[in-house]
């Protein structure tokens, strides 16, 4: 820079300036409080109002919690203990009801000695779900996920091990038949062959196989009826099985809704809108009141299965919308790339489109599951014992008549822990997918 102005004073720094502390108002707690709580009249007002609200809530809740009684046989006993310790009429929670009855809220009337079975089933479920939810785990683990439903079914309902195994056998045979047939005929025909083999296996083979094998190699657990299922276990079973069972149907509906084929498109849209337009509770009443009308005369199966079928159909419509979003998010180039290589529709869906679309859809599917899990509480209205139903049952006993909020807090907390952690997971995954997408 030779053309510096003549007036510009020459300057060369002799020593570098050390770092200095900012003025007091700019650092630490003072700055933080000023900026975050009292930066203007509106802000001050908001701070004061929310402090009052928080104070009011704490004033009511803290003593109630603080004075809570955890060991008592009934509500009146609870009251006695309270009167003794804190004086009559003091605000006090009687959490003794939870100590006394928590196992019912969690397991319903499942036999107490067999609690290890639902617990093991839960562990199996978590192991099975992890390779789906965390893509970093080895893909081979998905095989375990595929057979885990049979293990869980056997653990929960008990009975002979050969019943779920023969169902599994049907599916394996169907897959083998499909693979063999697809070498010779078109994939659609091969799929039909697979279905036919499965139906034959279940219809002809499964019954005799189960009875014979049970006689030869009697591996069985004590059978537990659906009537004994209840509490969070019931909510979880209904939610999980509905989501898993609804995935295939939901994917088909999403493909149908994306399809160019007029009739298939309209049928998918009609089904989705019909299901989504009517509240779940109406569908549940349909399951309990009407399903028997639609099935062949004389069919009768237990209410829990009917509910699972209905909730499956219900969640399929919601899953379909989620998957449709995933399909729409894929660039058109992916479809064209698959086409230009000569893949047919099912191949390109199976190998290219769905793996990507489903990956994008996982957060949405998790959110659907959260909604469904919360909605399983509605089964109380058709007589199943979900946590809320059990809270009513507990209150109906003479010991605990009049206990409300302790039960609500416990149930609410359980739901909150499950749903909140799942929603955190889904948000984290969504962010990760967005980063990858960029």
């Amino acid at each position: 820079m030779s053309d510096t102005h003549a007036q510009t004073a020459r300057f060369v720094r002799e020593s570098m300036l050390p770092e200095r502390e900012p003025p007091l108002a700019e650092v630490g707690a003072v700055k933080w409080v000023r900026e975050n709580l009292f930066s203007g009249w509106l802000n001050i007002l908001l701070t004061v109002v929310s402090a009052v609200v928080i104070g009011w809530i704490l004033l009511h809740i803290v003593p109630w919690f603080w004075n809570s009684v955890w060991k008592a046989g009934s509500l009146s006993q609870c009251r006695e203990i309270r009167d003794e310790a804190f004086g009559p009429g003091a605000s006090s929670a009687c959490f003794a009801v939870i100590t006394d009855r928590w196992h019912q809220l969690v397991f319903g009337f499942y036999p107490q000695t067999l609690y290890w079975r639902p617990v093991t089933a839960l562990i199996v479920f978590l192991i099975a779900a992890s390779p789906v939810l965390f893509p970093r785990l080895p893909r081979q683990a998905l095989w375990f996920s595929a057979i885990s439903p049979f293990i869980m079914f056997w653990l929960l309902w008990g009975g002979s091990v050969w019943a779920p195994l023969s169902v599994l056998l049907g599916i394996v045979l169907a897959y083998v038949a499909f693979r063999i047939a697809s070498r010779f005929v078109s994939p659609v025909l091969a799929m039909l062959a697979g279905v036919a083999v499965a139906v034959l296996c279940w219809g002809l083979l499964a019954g005799p196989l189960t009875t014979d094998m049970s006689r030869i190699l009697p591996i069985r657990l004590r059978a537990v009826g659906s009537d004994d299922f209840g509490g969070f276990m019931l909510s979880f079973i209904i939610g999980v099985s509905a989501i898993i069972l609804s995935l295939p149907l939901g994917i088909l509906l999403a493909l149908g809704r994306q399809s160019d084929l007029f009739f298939i498109n309209k049928v998918s849209v009609a089904f989705i809108e019909l299901i989504r337009g009517v509240p779940l509770i109406v569908w549940l009443f349909t399951a309990s009141l009407l399903l028997n009308y639609f099935l062949p005369p004389g069919t009768n199966f237990d209410l829990m299965l009917r509910v699972i079928i209905m909730v499956t159909l219900f969640s399929a419509a919601y899953i379909a919308e989620v998957v449709r979003g995933g399909l729409a998010a894929l660039p058109k180039g992916q479809y064209e790339g698959a086409d230009s290589l000569g893949l047919d529709y099912w191949q390109s869906m199976r190998l290219i489109i769905l793996p990507q679309a489903l990956k994008i859809s996982i957060p949405g599917i998790v959110n659907t599951f959260i909604g469904l899990f919360k909605d399983t509480t509605l089964v109380v209205f058709i007589g199943l014992l979900d946590p809320i139903g059990l809270s009513n049952a507990i209150r109906a006993s003479t010991d605990w008549n009049g206990v409300y909020f302790e039960l609500f807090v416990f149930i609410g907390l359980m739901f909150f822990i499950c749903c909140f952690s799942m929603s955190r997971y889904s948000i984290a995954l969504e962010k990760k997918l967005q980063r990858e997408h960029r």
């Binding site: 900026e35 975050n36 709580l37 930066s39 802000n43 908001l46 701070t47 929310s50 402090a51 609200v53 928080i54 078109s186 160019d260 084929l261 007029f262 009739f263 298939i264 049928v267 809108e273 019909l274 989504r276 337009g277 009517v278 509240p279 779940l280 509770i281 109406v282 009443f285 349909t286 009141l289 009407l290 028997n292 009308y293 639609f294 099935l295 062949p296 005369p297 959260i370 919360k374 909605d375 509480t377 509605l378 109380v380 209205f381 809320i388 409300y404 909020f405 609500f408 149930i411 609410g412 739901f415 909150f416 749903c419 909140f420 929603s423």
Partner: protein
Amino acid sequence: MASTVDASSRQGFKLSQLIYDTRYRSLTIQAIAMALLVLFLSWLVSNTVQNLSDLGKDFDFGFLGQRAGYDINQTLIPYTSGSSHARAAIVGILNTLLVAFLGCILATIVGVIAGVLRLSKNWLVARLMTVYVEGFRNVPLLLWIIAIFAMMTEATPQPRDFREGGTASMWLWDSVAVSNRGVYIPAPVWGPGSTALIIVFVLSIAAIIGFRRYAFRRQEATGVLLPILPVSLALFFLPSILAYFVLGGPVSLAYPELGGFNFQGGLHMRNSLIALWLALSLYTGAFIAEIVRGGILSVAKGQSEAAFALGLRPSRTMNLVILPQAMRVIIPPLISQYLNLTKNSSLAIAVGYMDARSTLGGITINQTGRELEGMLLLGLFYLVLSLIISGAMNVFNARMKLKER
């Protein structure tokens, strides 16, 4: 493909063309799908017919004309137990619509406030709103409904506690009573001359709309900005207040008063309505808060920076740049939340609120044994309602769609 058509017609039609020819393939698939569907549906129908005849029932909507014979505790239109089932159904439908309408309004207010406050720089408020949103979103609505209902019935005073020397007192200068029988609020009494007051009010609203139009036209023509907000406020309040006094106070309030064992006069809002309304609004409000927050965050920061760089003031930036873009993102999911709220109002069953499901889909079915017809009508009602709402949403989306390549 003109020439190929010739080619194939020359060779004649082959059966394999049904599968491999792109022109027939889709028709073949659809025909098969349709056949399967028809088969399935006819299977369902034949089962139903068989089952109905086994039970000695028929399929008939005649029961709607019969005497209902049960009471409904909240009726918006005249109804007695002697009215027909159809009228009971309508009372229920109106009750559903009432709680849904009230819920949508309160949920929007709560949701917008919570959503905006969650973005506030005020640490305390933002945290408080986060706790509210997460707390309500992650706990089943049903639990909130029964918890709020329990709070209303178990933790509020009985009417007799409001007597002289009792433990409870009314709120807001003795005008609102919160008791375990429900909430009592003052009811408006329309005296003579109130029609004129309403006309004045409607006219002032019309004047506000007219003034705003005029102001915008004026601004377009001359560039001069008129003070819109103060004039609108003045137009809104002044004429009505003036008219109220000129007409000698034609509208008065009837206050609830304790008489005997209960309150008399005023408007009685049942606990079932209040619990359902509050729970629905707070629950849906939490979802709306997230939608609002997401909508505001979705407008890129560059947008407001660009507007500031052009010299627009923050309030103008909000009105002219941020809100129009945020609304586009907010409104569609907002409407689907309204839809959810409406459907969730069927949880009225938990608190004994007499909505469509409780009358048409509940007591009527139990009394007449017409499950099939009753559930069909109930489903149809919800379906039509949601189709109307989603239809409105589609119209909105089509209109608001950003013009993009």
